[in-house]
């Protein structure tokens, strides 16, 4: 992953003073709307703690909530209305893509950064389909995570390019209409343009994304409903 922004780019940074860290799993309202509020989702205590510490050290970032599993994360994101969710891909039963789908369906969806030990082309494609805004490898957590959070908070999408071979392979599992959507999502075309081009409502596209993920077997425990459009 290339670092695009290098600090000093949060929306009105520098005004937040990091205060005492809340115990894991508890939440608090974002104290200052001018900082970027972050939801941290990870099932491993040490990683979770490390993430919270790192983010709390940043003057322009504020950890508004911490979740230890996928279901709790969705509930917290809804109640806290965070700006950015930082989500571990592997979360026991559910995964980060499932969380992404749920978060994107909220009334005020946060921007989403997925991180994984296995951040490969396949996951990058799935992230694009799910609607995540960035994908990071665990070995690049650190300064790069902070800059990525700032970037996505500014509206950028930082997903790695998916090589054509992988696109081809995944495309072969989809229906004709889905293939078109898939291509557009991977090309990074903004959602409103996709909807306009395909004549889809916001809900339609949302449903189609979930359906495509199920067909790509990226959502464990959710079988694709057989509505392959032709």
């Amino acid at each position: 992953m290339t670092r695009i922004l290098d600090g000093r780019s949060g929306p009105e940074h520098g005004s937040a003073v990091p205060d005492a860290l809340p115990p894991n799993g508890t939440t608090r309202p974002a104290p200052d709307t001018r900082t970027t509020t972050v939801l941290v989702v990870d099932d491993h205590p040490a990683v979770r703690w490390g993430l919270v510490q790192l983010l709390e050290d940043q003057p322009d970032l504020k950890v508004a909530a911490v979740a230890t599993n996928a279901e709790v994360a969705v509930g917290l994101a809804e109640s806290e209305q965070v700006d950015v969710a930082v989500v571990d891909y592997q979360l026991g039963g559910r995964n980060g893509l499932w969380v992404t789908r749920k978060l994107r369906a909220l009334a005020v969806p946060p921007r989403i950064v997925i991180f994984s030990a296995f951040a490969n082309d396949h996951l990058a494609a799935n992230c694009a389909v799910a609607g995540a805004h960035a994908l990071l490898s665990k070995s690049s957590l650190g300064e790069e995570l902070c800059s990525t959070i700032r970037s996505v908070a500014h509206g950028r999408v930082m997903l790695p390019r998916v090589p054509p071979a992988m696109v081809q392979l995944l495309r072969s599992r989809l229906g004709p209409q889905e293939e078109i959507t898939f291509g557009m999502l991977l090309a990074g075309i903004p959602e409103p343009e996709i909807r306009r081009a395909l004549g889809l409502s916001e809900e339609d596209l949302c449903r189609r994304r979930t359906q495509m993920l199920a067909r790509l077997e990226a959502l464990p425990g959710e079988a694709p409903r057989d509505t392959m459009s032709s």
């Binding site: 040490a46 510490q53 396949h122 650190g142």
Partner: protein
């Protein structure tokens, strides 16, 4: 297989294809005949079946003559007619016996030779002329059934051993990821946090520590992937093999030219894993022994079977062990899914190749 062409009767006579005796008169001799049977030269401690039957017949014949001449005393038959009758009968009986006995002995010899050549590493070989049409045929049938049972049992035990093996690999991979990987991630986060606060002198030191942790994280990820290929379960065999070759090339510098048929028929999880592991092991062997900078990997489906070939352009098999653990492991993998592995020289050019064939039912 090529049994017929290889099997030569040991009595040195040209053998007719159905194992019948030749009808030339010269062969029809009393007292077991000149061919002598295969047993005579090999010095066995017992009279072979051939001789036993002929001797028994002669004994019967002589007994009959004794009865005719001594007990019945054919007063009404002329001496000449009796002699002729006797000779004709003798010849006929011997001829019939020879035919019958050869029909038993020749297939038995073939079966013996076949049994000697049976190679447990190459399952699926069966004696061709088996059936309930003769004693030898029945024996061959039983022999084939026994091979069947042994191979099934062997495959079954290989399957359970490999299953346990894979289970253990999965456990280690998960533990590596969940414990070591997560702890390293936490350490990396802590180092990143401190990095921004230390002075210029300590900065580079901390940077090095971060790099070391990143390298370890990558290693953990790589080892876990080798132990349990995520791609195989998520994207199937072809993608997993492509990823395997790319990672292999990156790590060893050996170029892998891939020919992977994209539209393979549906394979069981077990078959996919076995093919993947054989390819993995074969590539490892190339890196260890072949001393080459290029290798071919192909996976093709044709004539009812799946064929995986890993071929290198290195030094061949002369210097390396022909049947090491790696090759035995590949054979076991193949055997567990009803396939076979051949390790040897390629049909042309230098190097060596591993060829896995799996029947597709």
């Amino acid at each position: 297989m090529s049994d017929h062409s290889d099997v030569q009767p040991t009595d040195g006579e040209p053998r007719s294809s159905n194992g019948q005796a030749h009808s030339s008169g010269g062969e029809v001799r009393p007292a077991g005949g000149e061919p002598g049977g295969p047993a005579d030269e090999s010095g066995r401690g017992y009279l072979p079946l051939f001789g036993r039957i002929v001797l028994a017949n002669l004994a019967v014949l002589l007994g009959a003559c004794f009865v005719i001449y001594v007990i019945v005393t054919p007063a009404r038959l002329s001496k000449l007619a009796t002699d002729e009758a006797l000779v004709v009968t003798l010849c006929l009986v011997t001829l019939v016996n020879l035919i019958l006995v050869r029909r038993v002995v020749v297939p038995l010899q073939q079966l013996t030779l076949f049994a000697r050549r049976v190679d447990p590493a190459q399952p699926g070989t069966r004696f061709p002329d088996a059936g309930a049409h003769s004693e030898a045929g029945e024996l061959a049938l039983t022999f084939n059934e026994m091979l069947e049972r042994l191979e099934a049992e062997r495959a079954q035990s290989a399957r359970s051993v490999l299953g346990a093996h894979e289970g253990e690999r999965l456990r280690v991979a998960q533990e590596l990821h969940d414990e070591v990987g997560q702890t390293l991630t936490a350490v990396l986060l802590q180092l990143s946090r401190v990095h921004g606060r230390v002075d210029a002198e300590l900065g580079p030191v901390l940077g090095e520590a971060q790099d070391a942790v990143r390298t370890s994280l990558e290693d953990v990820r790589r080892i876990a992937t080798e132990l349990r290929p995520e791609t195989l379960a998520e994207l199937g065999l072809v993608s997993a093999l492509a990823t395997l070759s790319e990672n292999f090339s990156r790590r060893t510098g050996i170029a892998v030219s891939q020919e992977l048929q994209p539209d393979l028929p549906a394979l069981t999880e077990e078959t996919e894993l076995a093919v993947y592991r054989v390819a993995q092991e074969a590539l490892t062997n190339v890196a260890r022994h072949a001393g080459t900078d290029r290798t071919d990997l192909s996976l093709l489906d044709g004539t009812g079977q799946l064929t995986l070939v890993v071929r290198d352009y290195g030094c061949g098999l002369n210097g390396s062990p022909r049947d090491g653990n790696g090759i035995r492991g590949m054979r076991e993998r193949a055997g567990a899914i009803g396939g076979s592995v051949r390790v040897g020289a390629p049909t042309q050019g230098p190097g060596s190749e591993v060829r896995l064939q799996v029947p597709l039912s």
